[in-house]
Structures are given as C-alpha cells and as structure tokens.
C-alpha cells in the first residue's frame, strides 16, 4: 500500500496523496503554507493530521456551537477527556469514542482497540478509570453476518475490559436495518481523580524530554485516521491487512505506571498524551501545539516491531498501547526507571525546542521540518451548507396504530431485540471488578460508588437513530433528555455529557443537515438539563454503498448521587405500593418502536416536546427521590407505558393492577418526558404535593400478575410469562 519516498516533485505530478485522503486543494494549501513542495513524509503527516478524525474539518463549525461550560466544568473539550467537579476534592473524567469503521472491518480487534483507546484518554488526564460503557447498533440479528458482528464485537469489548480490570457497567444495544453493514461501536470510559491533579497533553519548556512508552511501533493501522474518515464500499477486503491488535495486559501495565507518574512524580511531569488516531504524529505535534512549542524527534530511537520502517510508517502507525510524555530535563532517568519496573519499553526520543518547528530525524537526515501550526491550527475547516432531506420536507401522515390487541402487541414488543433483555450481551462483561458497582447492567443507569467519598456516580449511554431520521433537531434533544431521565430515575443529578456523533458523508448536504440540526437539539437540551458537553468524538462517512446510517448521536451522560441511600432501581419492591405515571401521554407514534415493529419502517413528523417542562418534571422527581419518597422509578422510552410497566414488574418479580383511562393503543405511544414510579402508601400525600400536577395515580403493585384496564381493552397476564418472553428473545435470535 505504500508509495515509497517519491520526491516532492514526483508527488506534485503523481498525486499519491489522493490515496491518503488529501485532495488537490488541500495539497496546494499545504504547499502554500510551507512555501515549498512537501516531501513524502510531510504529505503523510498532513494526511493524518488533516483527516476528519484529527482535524474535525467538517464538524468543527458544528462542534463550536455546543454548550461546554458551567460552574462545575473544570476542563472542557480539547484534551483527552473532560473533567467535572463532583465535590469532596474529587472530579469525574469521561469521554466516549467511536470505533465503527475498524469494527466493521475487523469486529473483534476493532471493538477491543476502541475500548483500549478510550481508557488511555482517561488515564492520560491522570484519572483512574472506574467504569466502561458501550453503545452498540446492529442490523437485524436474523442476518448471519450481523450475528457474527455481534458475537465478535461483544467479545472484543468484553475481553479488553475484563482483562484490564475496569468494569463494564452499562450500555445499550440497538437494532435497525440501517446499521446492517455499518455497525456502531461506541465506548465510553469514566474515571475519578483529585481535582488538583489534572494533567494536560502539552510539551512545554525548551530542553524538556519527550518520552515514548509502551508497545513497539509496527506497521499496523497505518493511516487509520484517514481510513476511518473514508466511506466503505463492498470491496473493502483489499484494505484488510494491517489490523491493530489490542493487548490489555500491556495496557494495564501502562495505565498503572502512568497513574504512578501522575501521583508521585508531578514535579517531573509536564504533560502526557496517548497515541490514538494518527499515532505518534498526532500525540507529539498536538502536545507541541498546545504549548506553542517547537519539537524534534529522533525516529531511530522509537521502539520498532518490524525492520526497515519508513518515517511515514513510524509516524502514522496506530499500534496500540503507547503513550507520549513530556518530562522536565534532568528527570528523565527517574521516569524511565519507573516504567522499566513495569517492564515497559521506554525511550527519550526527542526534546522541546525553541521556536515553532516540528522536526523529525531519521538516519541522520531531517525528514520533516514544518511549522507545528501547519499540522494543527492551520488544518482546513470546511463550512458546509446543509439541505433538508426530502423525507423531512414532506413527512408522511401521522402513524395511527389502529385497533390492536394489547397482549399480542406487548408480547411482540417485549420480544423485539430493542426491548429484549440484553443479558446475553452484558453477561460476558465483568461488571463488578473494583468492587464499586452498586447498579450494573439492567437498570436505567449504572451506579458506581466513589471510594473515599460519600458519593456515587450514575452513568448511561443513549441513542435513538429512529427519531433523528424523522427530525434531527428534535431527535437530538430527545437523546439528551432521555439520558437525563435515565439518570434521574436512579436518583442522580445529571452533570454533563460526552458524545459520539455518528453520521454519514458530511460532503453530502443532506447528511450535513442532519449533523448541524441535531447539534441544535442537543445544545438546547443540554442547556435545559444543565449538562454541558465536556468531551466527544465524531464518526462521519458511516455509509455503505452510498447509503447513510440513521443519524445517530450517542450521548454518554454522567450524574451525581450525593447520598448512597437514595439510589433507586426500576424493580417493583412491595405489594400495595402506589404506582404513578409522571407526565402526560399523547398519541405520539411517529418514530416509535410500535411503528417500526408493525410497519417495518419509521415515517411521519416527530412531535415537538417541551424541554423546559421535561427538565422541571425531572427536577421535582429527583427532589422526591432524594427525600426517600419513591421506592422504584423507571423512565418511559422505547415501547411506551406498557413496556415500562412490564420492565418494572419483571425486575421485581411482582405484578401491578393499573387503570389507564386512555385508548389501548396509546399505551405504546412514546410521548417524551414520562416516568413510572412507585410510592409507599404512607408517603402518598408528601409525594403528591412534591410532584403537583405531574403525577397521576394509576394503580398499585400486586403479586405475580399484570392487570391493565384502558378505555377499550383490558389485559391480564402473569408476569413470569412476560419475563420469559423478554429473557429468551435475544438468546434465541443470536443462536
């Protein structure tokens, strides 16, 4: 795949850069910035650094519109991960990352290295990783290719987290045909640290050392950053050579060693960054860029796994489990000795220079000498114009469910893979290592205790491409609001979000429209929920043969629980407790799971919803939970009220007797802003006065049987029957 060392003039005429993801205008721009024709290595570095993955050239104008700061944010987007103050001297650090393309090509290693990469982002800030979450989207599991993807991707995620010893505490798994050949594999990592130990990825101070540590550099994933930013076609097989392999054992050593450096050698450490997309070049040049420094690296010193690697290959390799540190001159030996104790390859491979040049030496020659800014700040930015897709200009008429059987429909939805119990997936994740997991997979959000404090963190990942397909702005807002509801249901106050923006080709105006519009919805909801965006990641070009996936922003949200005794789960607890529906129910069926399941597609206009009111309801409910007035809580999402009630019944092994004065079909409506909660009878008055008009008393918990009355139908079904349907659906589909 390599075009070895064409001369600058040959590059100008033979244009090998086109195969590296740079177009002619970008090449010309590079030539202008340098005032000369770039050599082969320099072209390679620019192709990596100017890719969407590193430079966000299409998404930057959109990302700029995000709301990123409130009084709790200690560090926003721009570093490895964002940081939020959680009190008692501690901060939470989190970020999510997509590995869609690598996972489509090599599902096991693609997913594994996605997890490995996001973990490095967290400990590069100096935080101890305490939890992982994933967000997966697949096609129809009846398709054998999809089943194989699920199998391998789930194994890749599990094996990495299990081995390194970070619990995978939650996530989500969605199914829709649009992901059949382009699965979504997003991973999120959450860490905790002391607020006064935040580390940044910078290389400052002339003469200070650059230290390479970790795995040797091989010819794997070369130019992965520009590859990840390119779209698929079915004959991708040719590209399947230099797959990156994850080594969680190596990463555990690296993580423990780096945390020891940040804990015990703060005086020596200037900055630290992991080598992710565009490997050595991006980590080093970004560190120089953030400190406005110059830098020289000697490539002959870089530990190499294969002989005869070219500068291009060394700099753009995406070999995993590597970190770059900047260490004060004179402290090199102490840091190198520390890493050696962990049996890690460690070398001083360069120095911070005066000026602003980025210089690379290889076998006595200068193979790159460019201003740092050319690779960082001067990367092109494109201001695309969006065009509303035709399906949104004239939406189909509203979907009416018509006459349906409550029981048959409930069964159908409980067996749908989107609602089915996901134990078959998350059972292969160690959810408890580190012994802090209060709520693992199975609740609305995971809850992890923070050692050394009286607090816990709640966390969730959510996405819903169906809604965005119908309306990116409203859909974007729904995704954020639903995440917040998931946290509130456990008793947590939402703190902030990270995101993975999974979209199609941004050069297509219709795709770009979805990206830009959904950012508006996300921003509006973030403000309403008081959850700034502190980190995130963009994955564009999610297309197969020209067809884009549903626009799918994945929201990872973290919340704070200040009193461990207020942690709440969805399970019904006790017979005779009162059941309330919180929020209003309307005929909102466009984009619903019911529509998807009964018609095989989604269509129609998405109903707007009132973010302010949703946020107010959430605040009131959270206050009630914190006053111990609520014994169980669950948000109403996919499948509507009856599915949510069934979830609570199945989880608690108890039934319910409820009276919902609505048309039967409305029990599957997906109106936003709703919860179901239970309240002990003695707290009825206190709860009702806390919730005001939001709360509708609808029934009581009873043993074993779900009994539902509506305007036009009734339902009586043993809970164990529902449990069996829900539990057996996915294992059966995945067989």
């Amino acid at each position: 795949m390599l075009q070895r060392e064409l001369s600058p003039d040959q590059i100008a005429t033979e244009k090998p850069y086109l195969g590296l993801g740079l177009n002619e205008d970008e090449y010309d721009c590079l030539t202008t910035l340098l005032g000369r024709r770039p050599n082969f290595t320099e072209v390679g570095l620019a192709s990596g650094m100017w890719s969407e993955h590193c430079a966000y050239k299409y998404s930057k104008p959109v990302l700029k519109t995000f709301w990123t700061k409130n009084d709790r944010v200690l560090m926003g987007p721009g570093e490895g991960a964002g940081v939020i103050d959680i009190g008692e001297g501690k901060a939470v650090v989190f970020k999510a990352e997509s590995h869609n393309h690598p996972s489509a090509v090599e599902p096991y290693q693609g997913a594994a290295t996605g997890v490995g990469g996001i973990i490095r982002d967290i400990f590069s800030i100096g935080a101890k990783p305490i939890a992982l979450l994933d967000s997966l989207a697949f096609g129809d599991p009846k398709d054998p290719h999809v089943r194989q993807l699920i199998d391998q991707i789930v194994a890749g995620i599990g094996d990495y987290g299990n081995a390194i010893g970070i619990p995978t505490v939650g996530g989500e798994t969605r199914f829709a045909d649009s992901y059949a050949r382009n699965p979504l594999v997003n991973a999120m990592c959450v860490g905790v640290m002391d607020t006064d130990a935040i580390q940044r990825g910078k290389a400052a101070g002339v003469g200070n050392a650059l230290i390479y540590v970790g795995a040797k550099t091989g010819r794997d994933g070369i130019n992965g950053a520009s590859f990840a930013s390119a779209e698929f076609s079915d004959d991708e097989a040719a590209d399947r050579s230099a797959v990156q392999v994850g080594d969680p054992f190596m990463e555990k050593l690296l993580m423990d060693a780096c945390l020891e450096v940040t804990r015990e050698h703060q005086d020596a450490l200037v900055g630290m960054q992991d080598m992710g997309a565009a490997g050595l070049v991006s980590s080093s040049v970004e560190m120089a860029g953030k400190a406005n420094s110059g830098m020289t690296l000697d490539l002959d010193l870089i530990p190499q796994r294969e002989p005869e690697m070219t500068p291009f290959e060394i700099m753009l390799s995406e070999s995993q489990e590597r970190m770059m540190l900047c260490v004060k001159a004179g402290h090199e030996d102490e840091i190198v000795a520390l890493f050696k104790r962990y049996d890690l390859d460690t070398v001083v491979c360069g120095r911070v220079d005066e000026g602003h040049q980025y210089r690379l030496l290889h076998r006595g020659e200068v193979v790159c000498d460019v201003p740092v800014a050319v690779l960082t700040d001067e990367a092109p930015v494109y201001h695309q114009k969006g065009v509303q897709p035709s399906r949104l200009q004239q939406p189909a008429p509203d979907f009416e469910p018509g006459v349906l059987s409550l029981l048959a429909t409930l069964r159908q939805l409980l067996a749908d893979p989107n609602v089915a119990d996901k134990k078959a997936i998350y059972r292969s994740y160690d959810a408890q290592v580190q012994t802090n997991t209060v709520l693992g997979p199975g609740a609305d959000a995971a809850v992890v205790r923070v050692r050394g404090t009286h607090r816990a963190l709640a966390m969730t990942t959510d996405s819903n491409g169906r809604y965005l397909y119908l309306d990116p702005e409203i859909g974007g807002a729904i995704t954020v609001a639903e995440s917040a509801r998931n946290l509130v249901a456990t008793g947590a106050e939402p703190l902030g979000i990270t995101d993975c923006l999974n979209y199609g080709d941004p050069t297509k105006p219709e795709s770009f429209y979805s990206l830009a519009e959904s950012a508006k919805g996300i921003t509006a909801a973030c403000k309403a929920m008081n959850t700034p965006v502190i980190s995130g990641n963009v994955s564009l070009y999610n297309e197969t043969n020209g067809e884009a996936i549903y626009p799918t922003p994945m929201i990872g949200m973290v919340g704070l629980i200040e009193d461990l005794s207020t942690i709440t789960t969805p399970a019904f607890k006790q017979v005779r407790e009162l059941i309330y529906v919180i929020g209003e129910t309307g005929p909102d069926f466009n984009g619903s799971l019911l529509q998807q399941v009964t018609t095989g597609a989604v269509a129609g206009a998405l109903a707007p919803f009132d973010l302010t009111q949703d946020a107010a309801t959430q605040r009131r409910l959270l206050a009630a939970i914190r006053q111990h007035l609520v014994t169980a809580a669950h948000d109403v999402s996919d499948g509507g009220l009856l599915v949510a009630l069934s979830d609570m019944a199945i989880a608690g092994g108890l039934g319910a007797k409820v009276d919902l004065p609505l048309p039967a079909g409305w029990l599957f409506s997906e109106t936003q802003g709703r919860f179901i909660v239970t309240v002990a009878p003695e707290n009825q008055a206190a709860f009702e006065s806390a919730m005001g008009d939001d709360a509708h008393l609808t029934g009581v918990v009873q043993p074993a049987v779900l009994t539902v009355a509506t305007n036009d139908q009734t339902l009586t079904v043993p809970v164990h029957e529902l449990a069996t349907i829900n539990e057996e659906a996915l294992p059966c589909l995945l067989k």
């Binding site: 399947r240 230099a242 080594d247």
Partner: protein, 88 residues
C-alpha cells in the same frame, strides 16, 4: 474419508501478545537461547466426501470460522484415511 491438518497463524505483521509473553518469560527463566516464538492454532478435522469438494469446504470453514482472515493466514494438508483408522 479425509483427515485435514490445518495450521492457523498470525500474519507476520500482526502483533501477537501471546508470543511476546512466552518469549519474555522463557528469557527470564534462563531459556534465552530461544530466539523466536510463534503461537499458532492447529486443527484436525475428519471429513467424508470427494477430495475437491472437501478442499473447497475446508477453505470455506477456515475463511469463515477457524481463521480470522484479517489477522491470520492458514494452510492445510489433506490425507485419505481408512474408515477403520477413524473408528480408533
């Protein structure tokens, strides 16, 4: 009836953490004359059918199940075996 002996190995450019750990441990234990370690998988399958069909079948089974074509390559040999040998 044929016996297929199938070898699945990592492609040379792919990092193999298993081999690394084994070689490092051997060196630490004094077996430092071991200069290279390759860790592969070995399968034996007994299959009935005619030879050309069986060859094609094994290729398919390797491509889809026994080997990960992204990171591994495979080779195999096929020997006829008598049914008596099979029963043993």
């Amino acid at each position: 009836m044929f016996k297929a002996k199938i070898f699945v190995n990592y492609k040379p450019s792919v990092l193999d953490p298993k081999a690394e750990v084994i070689q490092n441990t051997l060196a630490r234990l004094g077996d430092d004359n071991v200069q290279h370690v390759l860790v592969g998988k070995y399968f034996e399958l007994l299959l009935s059918g005619d030879e050309a069909a069986v060859r094609a079948q094994i290729d398919r089974i390797c491509d889809t199940m026994l080997a990960n074509i992204n990171t591994e390559s495979y080779r195999f040999t096929l020997e006829p075996v008598s049914d008596a040998a099979v029963a043993e």
